[in-house]
Amino acid sequence: MLVKRSTGKPARGSLARSLASGLAAGLGATVDRRGFLKSSGLAAGGMAALSALPATMIRKAEAGPMVPNVEVVTRKNVCTHCSVGCTVIAEVQNGVWTGQEPGWESPISQGAHCAKGASVRELTKGERRLKYPLKLVDGQWQRISWDQAVEEIGNQLLDIRKQSGPDAVFWLGSAKFTNEASYLFRKLAAFWGTNNVDHQARICHSTTVAGVANTWGYGAMTNSYNDIQNAKALLFIGGNPAEAHPVSMPHALRGKERNRAPYIVIDPRFTRTAAHATEYVRIRPGTDIPMTWGILWHIFENGWEDKEFIRQRVYGMDEVRAEVKKWDPATVERVTGVPGEQVKRVAELISKNRPSTVIWCMGITQKTTGTANVRALSILQLALGNIGVAGGGANIYRGHCNVQGATDLGLDVSTLPSYYGLAEGAWKHFCRAWDVDYDWMKARFTSKELMEAKGIPTTRWFDAVTYKPEDIEQPSPLKAMFVMGHGGNTVTRMPEMLKGLEKLSLLVVADPHPTTFASFKQRRNGTYLLPACTSFETDGSRTCSNRSLQWGEKVVEPIFESKDDYTIMYLMAKKFGFADEMFKHISVENTRPVPEDILREINRSCISTGYTGQSPERLKMHMKQQADFDKITMRASDGPCKGDYYGLPWPSWGHPELRHPGCGILYDTSKHVMDGGGVFRARFGVERNGVSLLADGSYSQGSEIQDGYPEFTMAMLKKLGWDKDLTPEEARVIQAIGGDKPDEVSWQTDLSMGIIRVAMKHGCVPHGNAKARCVAWNLPDPVPVHREPIYSPRPELVKEYPAIPDRRDFRLPQLARSLQSKIAESDLRQRFPFILTSGRLVEYEGGGEETRSNPWLAELQQTMFAEINPKDAERLGIRNGAMVWVYGPENDAKAKVMAQVTERIGVGTVFMPFHFSGYWQGESLRGNYPPGTDPIVLGEAANSVTTYGYDPVTFMQETKVTLCRVEPA
C-alpha cells in the first residue's frame, strides 16, 4: 500500500502528461471541449481513477455481463432519455440485464444510440440508486420500510389536506413517466382535489404546445424525425439536436446529403449541430422574433410566400404583414446583430428550396416571449406553405422520452388529460369516463371555482410557498410537495427555491435517485425518499416527439426495494381512501395496477387528441413487427400492421377496431382521413369580425364536404342527415351523455365515438376544417411582437420593445414591465456585463442526477464549466481551465465553475450547461446525499444564477437570456 500511495502522485503526472500531450500534439493549438475536460479529468476523476483502479484489466468472472450456457431472453424497450424514442434491445440472463444490442429494426433509430442510449444498461445495475425508503430525521437519513413510509406520508398529507385544503399540496410528476403513469398521476391529483399538478413540460415545451395549438390546433411536432429526410432545406433555430437529440441527426444529415439541402443553424452558440451547417447565423440571445420577421420581410418583399396556401388555409396574414414591415434589414441588424445580407440569404434559401422544415427547441421556448417565438416560426412556415407537407413542418423536438405523452395526458396545471381544459364540461366528461359521480368529484375540491382554475406551475412552486398568503389565490400557501421523477435544479432562481424548500413541512421524492432536492442541508426533517424504478423495470407506452407511441417491455424486475410508479400511486391512493373509486375499471394485481388497463381507459377517454386507436394490443404488435415499417415514411408495407404508421402517431381516431393508421404528418390534405390525412382544427369558432375562420376550398382527400366545416356535433350530423349512420348503440350512448340536449354532444365528448366514425365514413375530419390562425386573439400578443428580455443586455432598446405589463395568472402575480424598466434604468448592465445563456450536453440529461450517476457517462464530463470567448477571457485574465466565479444579478447568486475558453460562444456571452448540481456557491454538498447515492459527478447548477422572467401564457421560465459577471476565482 505504501508503495502504491507514494508512487501514485509523480507517476500520475508523468503518464497523465504524456497521454495528454500525446493527444495535444495531434491537435495542434486547438483546444477542444473534450480535450479540455480530459485534462481536467486527469486532475480530478482521472487522478482518483489512476490511483484507485484495480491494477489490471482482469476481472472477476461473475462481474462479466454475459454468462455462457445460460438462457438469454431478449426484451424490447425504449430509451428513457430524449424524445427520439430509440429502441433498446436488452439481453437478460437469470433476471439480470447482461447485454445490450442495437435495435436495427426500429423505424426511428435503426439501431443507433447516443452516449446515453448506449449506456442505459447501467441503470439497472444502479450502484448509486436509491435502494430503500429513507426518512430525514434531524439531518440524518434513516432507513424505513415501505409500509412505514406510506403510512407516515399519507397521514401527514391527509392532515395538511384537512387543515389547509387540498391545494396546499403540490404534485410534481415526470416526463419520464409512461403514458399510463402520467395519466394516473393526473387522475390522482384530481381525486386528491387539486389542479396543482405539473411536470417538466412546463419548463421545456409548454410554450410550444401553447403556441402551435393556438395556431393550427394541436400542440405537437407536425411531421417526424424521419420525414426530415424529405426536406429540401433545414432551418435549426434555438436547438442543438447533435447533443440533445443525437439520433435525430442521421435523418437531418441524410436530408442534407441526399437533397443537397441547405442546413442553416441560427444560434448564439456555434453548436455541434452548427458544425455541420452550410450557413451559421450568430444571433443575440432573445431576438428570435426580430430574426423571424426579418426573414419574413424578405419573403414578403420578394413575393416568395405561398399565396394560394395562405388564401385557403391561413387566417390573419395581413396583420402579420403589418408587423413584419417594421423589420427591415437595418432594424433587424440593429436588434439581432445579424448582417442584413445573411438574413436575406437565409430567407432565399428556405424559400427557394421547398419544402423546407423548421426545427426548434429550448432556445425558442425558454424565453419570456416563448409562446410568441413559437407562433412567429409557425407563421413563417404557414407563409411558405410548409405545413401539412412531407419535408416541411414545424419539427419541434420535445425533451424527455415521454414529455409529449405526459403533456398529452394532462400532467399539467391547466387541463385534464387530452387538452380538455378544466371547465365543467371537461370534468363531466372525465367523470363519465372514470365512472365517478361529478358531485362527488366536485366535493373533493375546496370549491368549484378552484376546480376550474389553473393551478400553480412548477416554475413558481416556491413562490407559492414563500409569498404572503394574500398574494396567492388559493386558501393556503403550499405546505407539501410530492415529487416523482423530477430534478431539483431545473427551475431558475434557485436561491429562492431553497427558501421555499426549507419552508415546506413535507417533501416526498419518489425517484430512482435522491435528486438535488435531497442534497440541501436546509431541510433537516420531513423529507422522505422513495425508491422508484426506471421504465426499464416496468412496462407501459411512451410517446415520442413525432407522436408515435411505443410499448416498452419490462426488462428486469425493479431492483433493490424500488417500486414502479403505478404501484407507488396505488399505495398512496389506497392510503388516501379513494383507491376503489380511482381504480374502478383498472385491475390491480396485488398492489400493482395493470398498465394495459390504464391504457384502455386512456383509449376510452382521450378522444380529442386521438389517443383512442392505440390499444395495448396494437402497440405491442407494432413493436414486434418493426421490420415491416418503411424507414422514411414510417408506414408498414406488409404484415399484420400493413397501412399503419409506426406507433400509430396520434391522432389515431376512433376505436382500435376501426384500424385508423395514425397520422404520420399532421394537417396533410393530400390523404384521406382514414389514411392519415388531416386539416387544421376548427377550435376557435367559425367566424371572427365577419371573417370566416373555416378553410376556403381546401379539404382532405375524399372529403364529402369540399370546403371548410366546423367541428362535428350531434346537431351537425343531423343537419347533414348523417345521424342515420349511427348504430343504435352509439345513438343510445350519445343520448345518455346529452340527456335533454343530445345535439350538444360533440365528437370530443361522445364516448361511443360514433360521431367520429360517421364523420370519417364521409371523409371528414371530426375536429372540423379551419384556417390556421396568424392572429391568436386570446393571447397577450395576438400577433407576435419583439419584447426585450427582462434582463436585457441592451437597455437602450427596452423603451422601444418593452416587456408585457405586470399581471396575474396561475394564482400568482407576474412582474414584467416594471421589473424590466427598473433594471434598464439601473447600473446593473455595468455591473453584470455578460449575457448568460444555458444549454445541453450530450452525455447528460435534464437535472442530470441519473446520468451523472452512470460511470460510463460521468467519466466523459467530469466538471461543470462556463464557456467564455477568448477575447473576454484575455481581457479578464482568465486562462482556459481556471476556476471562475459567475455572479448572477439576483440574491447575491454565484457559482464557481471552470472556464472553458472557446470561440464557440460569442464575445460578451457566457454559456453554462444545466445538468449539474451538488455544489452550492463553491461548496460541495456530497455529504448531504444519503450514503452511497451521491452522483459520481457534482457541480454548480446553472440555475443557481439564473433570474426572474416568465412567459405570460404558460409561466415558462427564462433560462436563455440573463446577465452575469465573471471573475477569476
Binding site: 500520475r12 458544425a275 452550410t278
Partner: protein
C-alpha cells in the same frame, strides 16, 4: 479474405460519444480506461469536425514491432490482438502507436503500468472464444458471434463504420459521390482551402449535378 477496418466519416460524426459508452457497456471497461474516444479538430469554429478513434488495426502494427515480449498477434481478419499474460506493461507500444490506442490501468515511476488494454475490434484475445476467461481479460468477442464491434453497430449517425474494408470503402465512396458538393466532396478543402466553401456547387445552388 475480408480485411477488418474502422472508418469514421467526419461529415457524419456529431461527437455524441455513443461509440465510447457502447464500448464501456459491451466490455465493462472500468473508469479511467478508454479503448475509444472522440477527437475534435477546430473545436467551436467553422470547419469543426470530429472522429472517433481507437486501435486502427494497422496492416503493419508498430506496437507489435516494438513490443519487447512479442505479445501482439494479428488474426486472419487483420485484427491486432495482444496477450495480457505476456504483457509487461512497459508502455513502449503507447509511444509507437500513432493513434494513442494503448491504455494502462496504473502508473508508477518505475516498472509496470499494468496490463496494456486496447480495442480488440470486439474479438477478445488468446483464450477460447467467448469463454469467461476471455471476457475477463479482453471483453466480449462479437466477431466470433457473427457480429461487428458494438461502437459501430450503435453509432448514432452511421459515421463510425466497422467491417470488411472493401465494403466500407465502397460505402464511403457512395457517400462522397452523393454529397458531391463543395466541402462535402473528398479533397475539396485540401485543394481549395477552407475559404472556398464551394458555393457555386453548394447545396441548394442551381445547376448542381448528380443525384
Amino acid at each position: 479474405m475480408a480485411r477488418m477496418k474502422f472508418l469514421c466519416d467526419a461529415e457524419r460524426c456529431i461527437e455524441c460519444n455513443a461509440c465510447v459508452t457502447a464500448c464501456k457497456n459491451e466490455h465493462e471497461i472500468p473508469w479511467g480506461m478508454n479503448r475509444r474516444r472522440l477527437i475534435t479538430l477546430k473545436d467551436g469554429v467553422p470547419g469543426e469536425r470530429s472522429i472517433s478513434m481507437a486501435c486502427m488495426h494497422c496492416n503493419d502494427p508498430p506496437c507489435a514491432g516494438v513490443c519487447p515480449v512479442d505479445c501482439f498477434y494479428q488474426t486472419a481478419d487483420g485484427v491486432v490482438l495482444h496477450n495480457k499474460d505476456l504483457c509487461i506493461g512497459c508502455g513502449y507500444c503507447f509511444y509507437a502507436c500513432p493513434f494513442g490506442a494503448p491504455q494502462y490501468p496504473q502508473t508508477t515511476n518505475f516498472g509496470s503500468r499494468g496490463k496494456m488494454d486496447k480495442c480488440t475490434f470486439c474479438t477478445g484475445g488468446p483464450e477460447v472464444d467467448n469463454s469467461p476467461e476471455e471476457y475477463q481479460k479482453y471483453g466480449s468477442n462479437r466477431l466470433a458471434e457473427g457480429k461487428l464491434p458494438l461502437c459501430a453497430e450503435m453509432c448514432s449517425t452511421r459515421a463510425l463504420m466497422a467491417g470488411d474494408g472493401d465494403v466500407l470503402a465502397d460505402i464511403y465512396q457512395e457517400r462522397s459521390l452523393r454529397r458531391g458538393y463543395g466541402s462535402g466532396a473528398y479533397g475539396w478543402s485540401t485543394a481549395y482551402g477552407n475559404a472556398d466553401k464551394g458555393r457555386a456547387f453548394g447545396p441548394g445552388a442551381s445547376g448542381t449535378k448528380g443525384s
